[in-house]
């Protein structure tokens, strides 16, 4: 390679770096786009972000409402749900699966599109900065969600006794722990 070619390449590289630095400084939205790409689960790298913070409703099989954080459209035509959580521990809980299962039913009911039987929970920890950890969650079937709703209705009506939390570490922080202890 000749010396002028090396010089041109060098100038081009310096220009590109300078342009990138200026773009990051001057365009605040650009960093958001980069972060959105960076925190995507690998499966969704080729997917298109279709909805962000959108509320959906459906009346079948029962009246449901859900606000989804993000919905991605994969090239195969399948929708994938992503739920954002801000918590101390980098993990997804059973309650996340329930929430996303309802979202799946509502999204499928309103849009008529196929929704994947799994979703992702993006967890942001207090010391994690702008990096989120993605956790794949298998969603419940429609029948399982309906059964859970029936149990909830029975518990709230006083017909069935409620269970204690399976996740005991949350009990010390609960505002109702005194009531709960008194009830036995």
């Amino acid at each position: 390679m000749s010396i002028p070619a090396v010089l041109v390449m060098g100038i081009y590289c310096i220009g590109l770096i300078a342009f990138s630095a200026i773009a990051f400084r001057c365009l605040p939205g650009l960093m958001d786009v980069v972060l959105e790409w960076k925190n995507r689960p690998i499966e969704l790298f080729a997917a298109k972000l279709l909805f962000s913070e959108t509320t959906f409703r459906t009346s079948k099989p029962i009246a449901l409402i859900a606000r989804v954080d993000r919905v991605y459209l994969k090239p195969s035509g399948m929708l994938v749900l992503v739920e954002f959580k801000s918590r101390v521990q980098k993990k997804a809980y059973f309650s996340d699966a329930i929430q996303m299962s309802v979202q799946r039913i509502v999204l499928a009911g309103q849009t008529g599109l196929a929704v994947a039987e799994h979703g992702y929970v993006l967890v942001k920890t207090p010391h994690g900065g702008n990096s989120y950890s993605a956790h794949r969650v298998e969603l419940m079937s429609e029948n399982q969600v309906l059964a859970l709703n029936e149990r909830r209705t029975a518990v709230l009506a006083g017909i069935t006794l409620p269970w204690y939390s399976k996740r005991h570490p949350m009990c010390p922080k609960c505002d109702y722990r005194e009531h709960c202890n008194m009830d036995g």
Partner: protein, 98 residues
């Protein structure tokens, strides 16, 4: 502990959050159904932090949805994200080697 009176009617559609909370702790769901949502200092602080994080996440999503229609910006951002990840990975390797 400040309590809000129960406002939810039986006719309103079931929300995903309500069912998720029931799955988390059935007893807590029942107490909140009877006495209303609690607003203690600790839960309010956590909720506030969560809202701030959620707002930032939402802003990223809105910008990304807008940028997805502009192929050049989208590709540039994707390339920048990849380069940044590689750079961070290399930096971690170098620091780990020291």
């Amino acid at each position: 502990m400040h309590m809000e009176p129960r406002r939810r009617s039986t006719q309103s559609p079931l929300s995903a959050t309500a069912l998720a909370q029931f799955g988390k702790c059935e007893r807590l769901a029942l107490y909140e159904h009877m006495h209303g949502k609690s607003h203690s200092f600790t839960s309010e602080g956590a909720r506030h932090r969560g809202l701030i994080d959620h707002e930032a996440y939402h802003r990223q999503g809105l910008v990304a949805v807008a940028a997805s229609n502009k192929a050049l910006i989208g590709r540039w951002a994707a390339a920048a994200a990849v380069f940044r990840s590689i750079w961070l990975w290399c930096r971690g390797k170098i620091r780990g080697a020291k």
